[in-house]
Structures are given as structure tokens and as C-alpha cells.
């Protein structure tokens, strides 16, 4: 598999702030799956610009992140690459200190920009703790299915 098929999935967030860490929890769950070799999954934590180093050479990057969209806890909102740019000027899109939009803008500047999309999950509780709220724990199968389905769709696009 060459780099042209490399798909990177990065879960971001702070594991110490309950649902804020949903992206990382999702990655921990995805590690149990036998994924195709061209799929790389990363716990991006609160890595900020460090995340860019994970994205070099990828054709597609899928971020998984907590997104406060005023919806029911656990609601999944997927932003395709063509929609991500429209989020640049929205304040407080991301709930933690890693400003994902700045990371994405920086990849464009570096001219190594893969297509980037975001799987956003509405959190219930952002507070001190290393566990997820019950609502997000219950949503985990749906979140995993959404991410796996998206990976499959992207793979099929790339193989055309």
C-alpha cells in the first residue's frame, strides 16, 4: 500500500475532562479492531501543532473530537472536507485547548494538506474525571460504526 492510500484517524481531547476526551476514548476502542494496513489511528490527546507531524503524507485525515453543537449528548455530526473550511471562523468550535481549526489551517500553509474531515460528538459532561458520561459510553458503538463506515467509504473512493 503506498502513501496515496494512507488514511490517518486522530482522536483528540483531554482524557482528564470526561467527555472532552471522547476522541481519545474512541481511538482506544478502535485499537481493538483489525483495520486495513493503510489505516493509521492515533491518540492525539491535546497535542496542538504536534498533530501536524502525524498527518504528513496522508491522503485523508479523519479527526474525532468533542463538539458542542447544542444537540443531545452522543449526537454525531460529521463534517466532510468541503465543510471543514467553513468552520474556520466559528469560535469555540472545539471544547478544549487544542484548536483544531488552527492545526488544519497550518497544514494548508505547509502545503501538505490532506483532505480533512471531522467526526464530532456532542459531549454531556466536561468535568474532572477519566471516565465518559453514561450517555457517551452508550453511544460508543454508534461512534465506532460511524468512523468505520466512513473509513470504508473513503477507502472505496480511493480504490476507484
Amino acid at each position: 500500500m503506498n502513501d496515496n492510500n494512507r488514511i490517518v484517524v486522530i482522536g483528540i481531547g483531554n482524557l482528564l475532562l470526561m467527555d472532552e476526551g471522547i476522541g481519545v476514548h474512541t481511538i482506544n476502542e478502535l485499537e481493538k479492531y483489525d483495520l486495513p494496513r493503510n489505516i493509521e489511528i492515533y491518540d492525539g490527546g491535546t497535542g496542538g501543532f504536534k498533530l501536524i507531524d502525524l498527518m504528513h503524507g496522508a491522503v485523508r485525515v479523519i479527526f474525532i473530537d468533542a463538539v458542542g453543537a447544542g444537540k443531545a449528548p452522543g449526537t454525531i455530526t460529521t463534517f466532510r472536507s468541503e465543510d471543514v473550511r467553513s468552520l474556520y471562523h466559528k469560535k469555540k468550535y472545539s471544547l478544549h485547548d487544542t484548536d483544531l481549526m488552527e492545526v488544519i489551517k497550518m497544514t494548508e500553509l505547509l502545503e501538505v494538506s490532506p483532505k480533512i474531515e471531522i467526526v464530532g460528538i456532542q459531549p454531556k459532561t466536561i468535568n474532572y474525571g477519566t471516565t465518559l458520561s453514561k450517555e457517551l459510553t452508550d453511544s460508543m458503538p454508534d461512534i465506532i460504526n460511524t468512523v468505520l463506515r466512513r473509513i470504508e467509504e473513503v477507502c472505496s473512493t480511493l480504490s476507484v
Partner: protein, 430 residues
């Protein structure tokens, strides 16, 4: 002379918020304070009841930028509690990893968070039009440091190979040798970095304060050492509370700290002032070229001290790599059994001295935890600097006053703004 009330509202792009309130009437400061209004963090509470084996992984999540330092400091405290001394190889690998973190953190700060001030653009993205190569150079150096972090720490973000007693996986000697070559190849970028910061005019300012950092007769202290005050000498890390006095402030959810005076400074400039003699000769040369004289009482020059330390850390990494690959790296298998104990770890983080204290019960469960982070220690000193600065800049235009204030706060590289550049500012009396 202006009467003004300036409220620099929360710093954007961070998890927490810091405000600066300054009220001046007829040239006199009526009120000046820095409020930290983020929720108080309960990391100590989260550590309680946890196993001695997992607490370092929890603390590594406190900060994405200083993850290595938090992990290292936590491990040192646990090892001290268990009465364990790691091998020379493990200490060298930890120092190498710490160097990687210092470089990436300092480069992030000087290139992406402070440089835009000199061009009066809102963020690093504002520099792209006229100074794209500068931004790209900063990113190249940051990427290089992150590669070293991944090589030794097992991944780019939140290291996983650091553990109590040893490393769970050593880097390969050939990979370390290749990395040394990469550092050597990066020297043109490092030299250009020095030239670039030489071209920027750091604001003038002077206020003698107390400087606290680790110190070590063997080396420029980052990993270990006694706690040194520029005022009154050294104490061993276990006596850190004899030196560092934390206290609560009504306007802030972060504790403040003082030592011999009513405030002190930690960070690159404090280390530079306390340990100048042990800097690598190349770093001293760069300090001279950048006009950083020893001792220096201009807090704005903390940025320049960070550039100097970046050079030191690159040179020190070459030395450590040479040392590590001169023999075979041994796979160490060390599993420490739990027992009751009490330990303190003190390490320099990029922003200043970090303390972790742990008490363990017979089963190795954490029964007491205390963490003192650099930014809390600097808050009182930032306020004192502002009290000195503001009366001297009242003749300036409003925008220039605000910029001077913001640049001074940012020079401390405060962790509440560890990912920030922009502050919201408004004059109330308009």
C-alpha cells in the same frame, strides 16, 4: 497622560481564561491584577487512590505541550518514594526526551506565539504573507524536535515509553545516530533562527526580581538539581516547601507563590540567570549575539533566553546521543514492587520548575499528591512587572500600551495561554 481602565479579557484558544485588569487615574495605578478565571484544576484529587504505576500517565495528560516534563517529574517522585535510583542510561534517555520537549515548546512559543507581536499581526497566520519562510522554518524545527520525542518517547504526543524504573522500549542506536545527523543538517535553520530574533527589537524594561530554578554542579540543570534562589541560595528538592510558599488570591483560581520576596520568576530567564556558567559554549555565544547579558532583569528577554536554551538543548542532545550510542543500549526490565513511601520530584519544565509530591500506602496507592506548576509561580511576578511597566508607558498611544502589556505577559509563556496568541482587549472608559 492617559486615565484608563483596561480589561484584557480572556485569552482565546485555551481551555482556561486569564484576564488583566489595570485601572490608572492621573498617572497612578489604582488597580492592577491578573485574574485566572479558569476552573481550578483538581489533578491532585484525581491522583488520589490511584496506583503508583498509573499516576504518571494521568499527569501526562495535564498538558499536551509539557507532557514529558509532567511524566518525568511524576516518575521521579514515585521513584523517590520507593527508594529507587534509575540507571545512568535511563537518566540519559530522560534528559534527551526532556531536551526534545524544551526545543519543541520553546520553538512553538518564540516563533508562533511571540514573533507575531513584532509584526503587529494577530497571529502566526498573519505572518504568512510577508514572512512565510520564517513560519516554515519554525515548523521544521518543531517537527524535528517532535521526531526526537517520538523516537525516544514512543510517540509524538503524550510519551508512552517513560515508566517507573526504566524505559519500556529503547530507541535503536542506529536511529539515534541518524537523528544526530538530522540535527547537524538543521544547523542552517538554527543559525537563521538566531539571525531572525536578532533582527527583532525586544522592548526595554528592567526590574530586578528573585529568580528560582534548579541548579546542578554537573550541568545546566533541567532534569535534576537543588532548588536555587538568586537571593538566598539552595535547598534540596525535598525541602521545596521551605523555598516555595503558595497562597490563595481572591481574584484567581490559580494559587500564587512567593519565596524570599513577594514574587519570583521561573523559566528560561531564571535558569539563564542562575546557571549561566553551565550553558553550552555555543549557547553562550548565541546569548552574546542576541544581546542577552548575564544577569538580565528584563522579563521580555525570557523569549531570547528560550532561543538560547534551544541551542543549548540541540547541542546537549548531540552530546547525549554520542554518549548513548558509544556502547550498547541495554534492555532494562525493572518492575518496582509497591511499598509505603513519600517522594518529591522537581524538574525544569520549559516554563519553569515543576514539583510533584506523592505519598504512597503499603499497596502503592496514592494517599497524598501536590503539584506546583510554573505558571502559578510566575503570576505574582507578572503583576509586579506590570506595576513597574505601566507608569513608564502611559505616554504612549493606547494600542502601543496594550501591545507592551500583552507582550510582557506572553514573554512568560504562561501555560494558561500555552496555545494562544490573541488576547481580547477593550478600553472600558470609551
Amino acid at each position: 497622560m492617559h486615565d484608563f481602565h483596561v480589561g484584557i479579557e480572556h485569552i482565546t484558544r485555551v481551555e482556561g481564561h486569564g484576564n488583566i485588569i489595570i485601572d490608572v487615574k492621573e498617572g497612578k495605578i489604582r488597580e492592577l491584577r491578573m485574574d485566572i478565571v479558569e476552573s481550578p484544576r483538581f489533578f491532585e484529587a484525581m491522583a488520589l487512590g490511584r496506583s503508583y504505576k498509573e499516576v504518571a500517565h494521568i499527569t501526562s495528560r495535564i498538558c499536551g505541550i509539557c507532557a514529558v516534563t509532567h511524566t518525568t517529574t511524576s516518575i521521579k517522585a514515585i521513584e523517590a518514594a520507593l527508594g529507587f535510583e534509575p540507571s545512568a542510561q535511563t537518566i540519559k534517555l530522560r534528559k534527551l526526551l526532556l531536551n526534545a520537549e524544551f526545543i519543541q515548546s520553546h520553538i512553538l512559543h518564540v516563533y508562533f506565539l511571540t514573533a507575531p507581536d513584532f509584526f503587529r499581526v494577530g497571529s502566526v497566520f498573519g505572518m504568512v504573507k510577508d514572512n512565510k519562510e520564517v513560519v516554515l522554518r519554525g515548523m521544521r524545527l518543531k517537527t524535528l524536535a517532535n521526531e526526537l520525542c517520538a523516537l525516544v518517547g514512543g510517540r509524538h504526543v503524550h510519551p508512552i515509553t517513560l515508566k517507573i524504573g526504566c524505559f519500556s522500549k529503547n530507541p535503536e542506536s542506529k536511529d539515534l545516530a541518524e537523528f544526530k545527523k538530522k540535527i547537524e543538517d538543521a544547523w542552517p535553520d538554527i543559525e537563521e533562527t538566531v539571525k531572525f530574533f536578532k533582527s527583532l527589537k525586544t522592548p526595554e524594561f528592567e526590574r530586578d526580581t528573585e529568580y528560582i530554578s534548579l541548579t546542578n554542579p554537573e550541568e545546566y540543570a533541567l532534569y535534576d538539581g537543588n532548588i536555587k534562589s538568586s537571593d538566598n541560595g539552595e535547598v534540596v528538592p525535598t525541602d521545596y516547601l521551605d523555598k516555595v510558599k503558595e497562597y490563595m488570591v481572591a481574584s484567581s483560581t490559580s494559587k500564587h507563590a512567593k519565596a524570599n520576596r513577594d514574587s519570583y520568576m521561573v523559566g528560561a530567564l531564571a535558569r539563564f540567570n542562575n546557571n549561566y556558567d553551565q550553558l553550552h559554549p555555543k549557547a553562550k555565544e548565541v546569548a552574546g549575539e542576541l544581546g542577552l547579558r548575564h544577569p538580565c532583569y528584563n522579563s521580555y528577554m525570557n523569549n531570547i533566553a528560550q532561543v538560547v536554551e534551544t541551542v543549548h538543548c540541540f547541542e546537549d542532545s548531540i552530546r547525549l546521543i554520542d554518549d548513548l550510542i558509544s556502547g550498547d543500549l541495554k534492555d532494562e526490565k525493572i518492575e518496582l514492587l509497591p511499598k509505603a513511601g513519600h517522594g518529591i520530584g522537581a524538574t525544569e519544565a520549559p516554563r519553569g520548575t515543576l514539583y510533584h509530591e506523592h505519598k504512597l500506602d503499603d499497596n502503592g496507592k496514592i494517599t497524598y499528591a501536590n503539584y506546583i506548576i510554573p505558571t502559578g509561580q510566575n503570576l505574582a511576578n507578572i503583576e509586579n512587572d506590570l506595576r513597574t511597566l505601566v507608569p513608564d508607558i502611559l505616554h504612549k498611544e493606547k494600542d502601543d500600551i496594550i501591545l507592551d502589556i500583552e507582550m510582557l505577559v506572553r514573554a512568560y509563556d504562561p501555560c494558561i495561554s500555552c496555545a494562544t496568541h490573541l488576547m481580547k482587549v477593550k478600553f472600558v472608559n470609551e
